[in-house]
Each structure stands twice: as C-alpha cells, then as structure tokens.
C-alpha cells in the first residue's frame, strides 16, 4: 500500500509533464502563426526553454523519490516548478500580440 505512494506521485509528475507539453506545443504553434517572424521565433525558443526547465526539474525530483522512504520536495523546487508554469502563462499571453 505505502509502496504505491511514490509511484502515484511519479505518475502525477508524468501527467503534469504531458499537460505542460500540450500547452507548450499549442503556444509554439500560435507564436508562429504569422510565419517565422523574429518575435515569433524568440517566443517559441523561450517557450521551449521553459518546458525544458520543467522537464529537467521533474526528472531530478523523480530521481530523488527512489528509495524506501522518499522525502518531501525541497524548496525552492516547488517554487521553481510553479515559476515555470507562470512563465508559460506569460509567454502564452505574449503570443497574443
């Protein structure tokens, strides 16, 4: 029973990465909807970078959950994960212009 806890948490991280991937792809698509303009390419690169930061952070968190009694998340990782989502929201907002 308790062995399923890290697994459920790992799967929750994986689902979050999937959601972030969908949002990132939609944002990149919209950033480039006027063609490959310099502004569009800059935004698309920033979105990709933000997504990559989230992905690398998730990989590291999942690795620290290996073991018999995984500890809680260590600040500032939750704040960084939240910041990448805020950055995605801001970058998605920037694609509207």
């Amino acid at each position: 029973m308790s062995e399923t806890q890290p697994e459920r948490t790992r799967l929750a991280w994986r689902r979050s990465v999937l959601t972030a991937t969908v949002v990132a792809l939609l944002s990149v698509r919209y950033a480039l909807h006027h063609g490959p303009t310099p502004w569009g390419i800059a935004l698309a690169s920033l979105i990709a970078l933000t997504w990559l930061t989230f992905l690398v952070g998730v990989q590291r968190r999942i690795r620290t959950m290996d073991g018999p009694s995984p500890g809680a998340m260590r600040p500032p990782w939750p704040a960084l994960a939240g910041a990448t989502v805020v950055a995605m929201a801001l970058l998605a907002g920037a694609t509207l212009w």
Partner: protein
C-alpha cells in the same frame, strides 16, 4: 493510531491558523531551512499526498493557460477574443502561484501537527469559472461571436 489523530487527541482538536498566511510562507517556499525550522518531518506519505495535490493545481493552471490559447486560436475574430484569452492565462498564473503557497502552508501545518489551512481559493475559482461559462453561454446564444 495515525500520527494525525494522535496529535489531535493530544491537543484536544484545537487548531491554530494564525501562521498560515504569514510572510514566512513565502520565505519557506524558497528556502528549505526556513521550512524545516518549525515542527517535525511528517510521515513521507503525507508529504507525497501534499505533492500530488500541488501537482493537481499545477495541471489546473496549465489547463487554464491551454484554454486561453485555444480561445485565441479557435474562436472567430472578435474584440473580446484576446481579452478572454488573457483573463484565462492570468487566472492560470494565479493558480500556479497559489499552488506553491498552499503546498508550503500545508507542509508547515503537517510539520506542526496542525489542521490543514482553510482556503477560499477553490470556491472563488469555481465561482469565477461559473460566471465565465454563463457569460460565454449568453455570448454564444445572442450571436456575439458570429461574423
């Protein structure tokens, strides 16, 4: 007996929320030492449950942002289209910030063996989504989005 029930029994079920919105929450969400300076490390299963709740809120935030992008991409051209998309993205960003703050407040409450902090945020978000959905319904029925 579960540690929580034990702690509740010890204190007679009294809880104290005065620290839940203190400025220390922001510091504790950035600095592990600030988070660990109070209370005792709770059972890891509680922390992992808190982490999954945090992730559910992050996904809610991402879904709102994704909804904003969908509005911008797939609604017909209209003066309100960009504004609606921007509102969804702002609410999404607020959800993500709140997820971090609430995770820290819950982690701290668990360390102190206190009740989890009460929050109006889910109710307010639900009310906002409800009002938005009704407004959109009126807009669609009245033909505001037709060219």
């Amino acid at each position: 007996m579960e540690p929580y029930a034990q702690a509740r029994a010890d204190t007679g079920g009294v809880s104290d929320h005065e620290d839940d919105t203190s400025p220390g929450i922001v510091a504790a969400s950035l600095d592990p030492k600030r988070l660990r300076e109070v209370g005792k490390t709770p059972d890891y299963r509680f922390s992992l449950a808190n982490e999954r709740t945090f992730l559910a809120w992050l996904r809610t935030a991402l879904a709102l942002v994704g909804g904003g992008i969908a509005v911008a991409q797939f609604l017909p051209k209209h003066s309100l289209r960009e504004a609606l998309a921007a509102v969804l993205m702002v609410v999404g960003a607020a959800c993500a910030v709140r997820a971090v703050v609430y995770w820290t407040a819950c982690e701290r409450a668990m360390r102190l063996r206190r009740d989890l902090p009460a929050s109006r945020f889910p109710t307010m978000l639900a009310a906002l989504v409800c009002v938005g959905a009704l407004a959109l319904l009126v807009a669609v029925v009245s033909g505001a989005f037709q060219r």
